[in-house]
Amino acid sequence: MAQKFEQLPEELQLATSAHVKYIQSLDTRKDEYGYWLTEHLRLNGLYWGLTALHLLGHPDALPRNETIDFVLSCQHDSGGFGAAPGHDAHMLSTVSAVQILATVDALDELDTRGKGRLQVGKFIANLQNSETGTFAGDEWGEEDTRFLYGAFNALSLLGLLHLIDVDKAVDHIAACANFDGGYGVSPGAESHAGQIFTCVAALTIAGRQDLINKERLGRWLSERQVAGGGLNGRPEKKEDVCYSWWVLSSLEMIGKTHWIDRDRLAAFILRCQDTENGGISDRPGDMVDVWHTVFGIAGLSLLKYPGLEAVDEVYCMPKAVTARVLGH
C-alpha cells in the first residue's frame, strides 16, 4: 500500500531538524529548575530522546561518551538502575539503561565499567514472582505486565533470558487475555492499548504468538481509530499520539495494520508537531514533550514515512540496533 506522504501539504511534513534541536535542548542545563524538576525521569527521558534521534537519522546528536557515563552513574550495586544518580533502582529505568547502551553499542561497558551484565540480569530476574510468573517493578511489589515486558526486552538484549522462567511468564500473559480481545495489567484487568503492547511484544519475544487470538485483538485495536484519524487507548478516550505507537506496533506484530486507515493516522501525527520549536504533543495544539515525540516518530516510522530509520515494533528501538544485538 503506497503512502501518499508527498501529497501532504507543506505544514504536514516532518520537521526533522526542529525535532532534533528540541531533543538536544533537553540535554542542556539551561536553567536549574528544568533540570531538577524532571530529574526523577532522566534515564527514561534519555531513552526516549535518543531513540527519537536515531529514528530521525541523527544518531550522533547526543554525545556518546557522556551518555554512557550518565547511564552508568545511575547503577546500584544490585545491578539495577535508577532514573538518575542516587534514585532508587527500578525495572523501568533498568530497561531504559539497557536499551540506551544497546543503541549506542556500549553493552560491553556494563562489564568493563559497570557492575557486569550478569548483575543486571540478576536484578531483573529477582523481580519475577516465582508463583505467578509476573514481574514486580522493584522490591515494593507493584506487579504490572509492563515490567514483564521490560524484563523480556532487556534480558533478551543482554542474552540472559534463561535467567527467568519464560514459560511461567508466558502463562501469566495468557491469563491476562480478556474476553474482549485485549490485555490488561494483570489477569482480569481492563483492556488497555499500552498493556496490550507489552503483552503482545513479550509473547513475540518468547515466540508464543500462537497464544494470541489475533482476530479478536485486531478488532479491539482497530476500534481505537477515531474520526480525526488518531488512535485512542480505550473506548471513548481522546486520540493521543502515544497510542500511534502502542496500537500500531501491536497491529504490526499481529500483521493487521491494514485494519486501520494508515494515511489518516499519519496525517494526525504530523498535525501534532510543533514545526517551529520542535517536538510532538499528544494532540494538535498541546504542549510538546519528549515522550510523545518518540512515539509519534516511531509511529511514522512504522507507517514508512520517508527518511526515517526503521523501528523495531517489538523493542521500540531502531531495527538496525536490534538486528545487531540480537543477530537477526
Binding site: 542516587g86 511489589g141 474476553f179 482480569g188 482476530e215 485486531g218 476500534e223 481509530q225
Partner: protein, 377 residues
Amino acid sequence: MSRALDPETITALNQVDPEAAYREISETLAATSDGLLEIEILSHTLFPQPGQFVLRDGRAIGVSKLGLVQAFMFARKQLRDHLDGTTPPDADVLALTGVILLFDPEYLTAANTRKRLLQARISSFSSSSAGGGDDDVILRDLFKKEFHFVDTLLTSRLHRHTKSPTLWSHRRWLVTVQASRVGSINFNADVLKAFQDVVFVAGERHPRNYYAWCHARFLVGLGVSAASDQDREDFRRAVFDWCRKHHTDISGWSFLWFLLDLEREIPEKAAPRASADVFSQVLDLSRWMRPVSESVWWFLRTVAASGLVSDILIEDFLGVHTEVLAKAKDPVDQAVLRAAVEWYDTHRCRDGQNIAVGDGRDGDVGADTSNTNRQEG
C-alpha cells in the same frame, strides 16, 4: 501541573524563599483534619501577599504553584542530603517526601523512602517487648495518617495525582501491610469504605482512571471471601450506580463486567440473576442515551456474548439494538451500534465453549467490518 516552566515563571520563582515555602506547605500537609484535604494548585496571582503560599478554608487547601516549585527544590535537596547521609538522621522525612510527592507523584524515590520509614517504624513495634494497647494505638495512628496523606492526593483535583501508578501502588502496599498486621478483612469497613471514600471519588476526578480501577480489583481480591451474599449484592449495586452516573466511563463498565464474571465462579443461583438484573437495567438505560455510548455498548455486547445471560435477554438486546439504530442519525453512533451486534455475533459463546481467548485462531475474518468502524467523519 506541568513540569515545564516559562521565563516569566522563572523570574517570579527567584523571588520566592524556598525554605519558607517548604515550611508553610509541609505544615499544612501535616495538619490533622477530619476527613481528607481537598488540595488545589493555584496561580501565584491569587496570593497577593509575598511570603504566603497556602490559602486555607477548612479542608480546602490552595497551594501556590510557585511556592510548591520552590518548596520542591528545597525538599529535593534535603532528601538527597539525607539519603547520602550528609545531614543528621533526624530529617523530617515524611514532611520532605510529602512535599515532593505533592509536587510530582511519580517521584519514585520519595514514595519508596516513605515506605522504608514506615516499614521500619512498623517493625519496631512488632519487635518491641512492651507491646499491648499503647502500641496498637500508635500503629493505628500511623496507618491512619499515611492513608490520610495518600488518599488526599488520590481524591484531589490534581489531574496527575488521581491516576498516579506510584501513589496507587503506595496505597496497595499500605493496605497489604495493614491487612497482614490485623490478620482479617471486614468487607464493609475495609473494602466498601475504600470504594466510597477513595476509588469512586478518584474515578470521578479522573475519568477512565486505569490505576484506580486496578486498585479496585485488588481490594475485591483481598476482601471478597469475607463478603456475604448481601454484601456482594449491595456492592454490585453501588458499582452499577456509579456506572450509571458516569456512563461514558469504560473503566466503570469494565469493572462491573469483572464483578459479574467473578460471580460466575460462585456456584449459587445468585450469579445468573445478578447478571440478568444488571444487563436488563443497562439495556433500558441504553434506549435513551444520546449520543450512543461506546462504553455502554461495549458492556452490553461483552455480557451478551459471554454466555452469562439467557436467550430471552439476548432477544431483548437485539430488539433494543434495532430500536436505537433506527433512531440514530449520527454515523458515529450507527457505527458503534452495528459494531456491537457484529461483535456479539462473531464472538458469542456457543454451547460449552470456554470464553478464554488464545485459541490461536488467526485470520482476516472481520477485517472488512473492522475497517468500516470509525472511518466516517
